[in-house]
């Protein structure tokens, strides 16, 4: 009996992924033909809450409002246009095959499954690849200024982990342009009255009545007021949890609170240990640094990665002769070279730095050198391709990358784990849905470049508007609990007490102190390489630091006006609890796959070694009343359309 089967027998809840019958190509059509519909005149009788206004949230809210549902949308930002989707640089994948280079829905599907190291759900990924083509059509008709060729047709480029050109882009600002497209469509509905927008309002709890999501409790960040909102369905499109590492490429306010509060109310949290470390970020310069900045993966098309062979070599880069440089990616992965996938490139950089070959004042980076490209192509060509990125690098580091090589180092970038959802993107709480980075569904153990934007928009535009209708249809004219229900009052009271508790703790250290220390533990033991010993250590250090957080936290100000220190305290509390679950999940998964690399499980040449016999399953964790006592449930992954294979990029 495999471990998966053993664990499956112990599930506390039957995890029904609701995958439609039939071949993978026909499942989504079959679903749409069979689903229940809500008559256009009845849609206005339903209220849907959408939390988060990034790509997934804004597109879902706009589409649901167009269909006629009443939508209440919430964002903690001042405007719906600020969400972190905006920071995506490179592009968005779609199986358009506009280049005639052999792309197809099946190929995008396969690349995504393989890139995810065979740890995602086939049916969901196939649907993602199918609707990818609709996304491009939709965004172009909204006026997103994608890059064009001289004939006026759309341009494409290629990205890591693919052998075709299927990435659509808008300069280095694809995320911004897509988000603004969705935001504009969203704003149109705000103007028409289809969406009520609650800005600077943060979710602090999810309310469940009789086993069904009944609404949410929110905190008005400007007044501190805690209030309730009820609805027939709730969508969480609240992003990922990369900021658990403190230093990441995520925006400062990105947090896990919405997903975590839902988890505590019964939503299972899947595969929290699947986190992605992006290889090309600017290394940390000092202790005070608040976040890391990503430099687009596209730079690896022309930049060469190297470190000095001799760890004690302190000469400037241009004085180190060729023979004393180690171009380690080209050496280890000759066929993909500097374009090896993200997880592989990141680990190789870490190993070089760990060997003492790091460069820069803190010896915490590797070189990304453009001098060959400049002498081969000329400075003008390099400037045309990467000018804005070079400028950004210079602004941050103070060094000119035309003259000296860039220094880069991996940083946390994206989280593949998230709330467990079924084929309808519904969590284990009926009526509660999760979309975009907040759910776990499509990227398995590693996400390919240019796929995050695709998934956010797929969920919001082309999946949820169908599946939510299917869930709402049977509720027509049935009474729903209002915000006067005791469950709302109890959740409000609990939230008030929680925030008052942070203010009352009167310790000595600000929230940032705890966040930074937590991040160090997670990065050290649950970052790019994990070991049983390290994870066990993390699982003793985090609770100890959490206990200190509870007694020694200092939050000034009050709870009845805008208080950013208090906001942080609440978010860090939830990061602590998530951190424990992440380490537990990483400890439990005795294999290496994608972004989850356990040193004990590697091949002779240092590559990830999966254990399909025992770990071809989703680990969906149930809240057990204490962050150190989660309850494991599993969903076995069945592969019908693809064969499990070892990933190789050599």
């Amino acid at each position: 009996m495999s471990l998966t089967e053993e664990l499956l027998a112990q599930n506390t809840l039957s995890l029904d992924s609701k995958i439609p019958a039939g071949s993978v190509e026909t499942k989504w059509d079959a679903y749409k033909s069979d689903m229940r519909l809500v008559n256009p005149n009845n849609k206005r009788k339903f209220k849907v809450i959408v939390v988060g206004t990034g790509l997934a949230g804004a597109s879902a809210a706009a589409t649901l409002a167009e269909l006629g549902y009443q939508v209440d949308a919430f964002t903690f930002h001042d405007s719906a246009r600020r969400a972190h989707s905006i920071a995506a640089q490179g592009g968005i994948n779609a199986a358009k095959n506009y280049k005639g280079d052999g792309d197809s829905v099946h190929r995008l599907f396969y690349d995504t499954i393989k890139g995810g190291d065979f740890r995602s759900r086939e049916a969901n990924v196939y649907r993602l690849a199918q609707v990818s083509v609709n996304i491009i059509d939709q965004m172009v008709s909204q006026g997103v200024p994608f890059a064009r060729e001289y004939g006026g047709l759309l341009d494409n480029r290629s990205f890591g982990g693919a052998q075709v050109s299927r990435t659509f882009y808008a300069r280095g600002q694809t995320g911004q342009q897509l988000l603004l497209g969705a935001y504009q469509q969203f704003s149109r509905q705000v103007g028409l009255g289809g969406i009520r927008l609650f800005n600077r309002t943060e979710l602090v709890d999810v309310v469940v009545v009789d086993g069904r999501a009944a609404g949410i409790v929110v905190r008005d960040l400007m007044t501190g007021e805690i209030s309730s909102h009820s609805a027939h369905a709730v969508v969480l499109a609240t992003g990922g949890y990369g900021n658990v590492f403190f230093l990441s490429t995520n925006a400062m306010a990105s947090n896990v609170t919405a997903a975590w509060r839902a988890h505590r109310r019964g939503a299972f949290f899947a595969n929290p240990c699947y986190t992605q470390i992006h290889p090309t970020c600017i290394p940390q310069s000092d202790e005070s640094q608040s976040k890391l900045t990503l430099m687009s993966e596209s730079l690896r098309n022309d930049g060469r990665v190297w470190v000095p062979v001799n760890p004690d070599d302190n000469r400037p880069a241009d004085q180190i002769p060729e023979g004393e440089r180690d171009y380690y990616l080209e050496r280890l992965y000759p066929s993909f070279g500097n374009l090896a996938p993200r997880d592989i490139s990141s680990r190789a950089a870490k190993r070089a730095v760990d060997r003492g070959q790091g460069v820069g004042p803190k010896k915490n980076g590797v070189y990304l050198d453009f001098s060959d490209a400049i002498s081969r192509l000329g400075r003008d060509v390099v400037e045309e391709r990467y000018g804005n990125l070079f400028e950004m690098y210079e602004r941050i580091s103070g060094e000119n990358p035309y003259d000296v090589p860039m220094r880069i180092y991996p940083a946390t970038h994206y989280t593949m784990g998230g709330l467990w959802v079924d084929y309808e993107l519904q969590t284990t709480i009926p009526g509660l849905y999760a979309a975009g980075e907040a759910n776990f569904s499509d990227h398995g153990a590693n996400r390919l470049g240019a796929s995050a934007l695709m998934q956010g928009l797929a969920d919001g535009y082309f999946v949820l508007p169908y599946t939510i209708g299917n869930g709402l249809a049977p509720l027509l004219n049935k009474p729903m609990p209002g915000t006067d229900h005791p469950a709302f009052k109890a959740a409000e009271q609990e939230a008030r007490e929680r925030f008052q508790g942070y203010l009352d703790s009167r310790g000595t250290k600000p929230p940032d102190h705890f966040h930074r220390e937590l991040g160090k533990i997670i990065w050290e033991y649950c970052g790019m390489e994990r070991t049983q010993q390290g994870l066990e250590k993390a699982l003793s250090e985090i609770p100890a630091l959490y206990a200190e957080f509870k007694t020694d936290l200092r939050v000034t100000g009050d709870s009845s006006s805008l208080n950013q220190t208090l906001e942080k305290a609440g978010r860090i509390d939830d990061f602590f609890q998530l951190g424990m679950l992440m380490c537990r999940d990483a400890l439990d998964r005795n294999e290496s796959c994608g972004g989850h690399f356990r040193s004990e499980y590697q091949t002779d040449d240092g590559e990830a070694e999966r254990d399909d016999e025992n770990f071809a399953h989703v680990s969906a964790w149930q809240w057990g009343g204490d962050p150190m006592k989660p309850v494991l449930n599993v969903e076995p992954l069945e592969f019908e359309a693809v064969h499990l294979a070892t990933r190789s990029y050599k």
């Binding site: 920071a87 006026g143 469509q185 705000v190 400062m252 000034t556």
Partner: protein, 258 residues
């Protein structure tokens, strides 16, 4: 290589709420590495204030990559500080020197009321977009993307103005508190594209009139262009004005025939 700056005096605007009077408060930062960003300096100051039992300085910020448009700040009287084409979050302390006194204020514009300290309410921008800053294209009915060819120069020009991050520096820098650069940028993005033609005239009319309800009038100072972190050209204002005049004075039926 990094250097340490010493003895930086910060004069920071503190204001408890929209309805109360504000004042400058002075803090000295003894030491700060020039690798730190401007906002990291404020983070350090805030941690110190909280440790001393004082309230942290409230300021808006998020991505710290110069793209989300959340950060603001008038630094020594300049929107986003002294470095051209750079948001506050991308400004680093190497632009300053030891012993400097730096004055930090919120955006000053009547359309952007102060919420607290350095944070202002920019939702008037959202009202402008809601009034017409979109192309009506409801989900589901889009034709194949390559059925709408867009000449590259048109697409590039649309992208130039679509780069606006909605930060509000243009309004803050304008002596009249006008939002013509912001509004013009969105109109220039959408009105240039073939997809934007159907709603072109209604869009400009509605957006300009909503803008006028909230913001001051443009008198061609050009401060907005100088302050814009994305270096959007005031040409977009000319285009907006041209389209607005056409929309107002020509017959809509005739315009459609052009």
């Amino acid at each position: 290589m990094s250097n340490v700056l010493t003895n930086i005096t910060l004069r920071i605007w503190r204001q408890a709420g929209p309805a109360v009077a504000g004042r400058f408060e002075t803090h000295v930062v003894d030491e700060i590495t020039d690798e730190a960003s401007f906002l990291e300096m404020l983070d350090i100051l805030n941690d110190r204030l909280v440790t001393e039992g004082k309230e942290a300085v409230v300021f808006d910020h998020d991505c710290r990559e110069g793209i989300c448009g959340t950060c603001s700040l008038m630094i020594d009287g300049q929107a986003h500080g002294p470095q051209r084409g750079t948001t506050t979050c991308q400004l680093h302390m190497r632009r300053f020197k030891s012993g400097d006194t730096i004055t930090i204020e919120p955006w000053r514009a009547s359309a952007f009321p102060i919420i607290k300290d350095l944070m202002v309410d920019r939702s008037a921008f959202d009202r402008v977009i809601e009034s017409g800053g979109f192309i009506t294209a409801e989900t589901g009915g889009a034709p194949d993307a390559n059925l709408i060819p867009v000449p590259k120069p048109v697409s590039d020009a649309a992208m130039d103005s679509a780069a606006c991050i909605g930060c509000g520096a243009c309004v803050a820098a304008c002596p009249n508190g006008a939002a013509n650069l912001f509004t013009g940028a969105k109109i220039a993005h959408l009105n240039r594209l073939p997809q934007g033609q159907a709603e072109r005239w209604g869009r400009v009319e509605s957006m300009v009139e909503t803008m006028d309800e909230h913001f001051g009038s443009c008198t061609n100072h050009g401060e907005c262009e100088a302050a814009c972190p994305k270096e959007i050209s005031i040409d977009v204002i000319a285009l907006m004005n041209k389209d607005y005049r056409k929309a107002k004075f020509a017959s809509r039926k005739d315009l459609a025939r052009q």
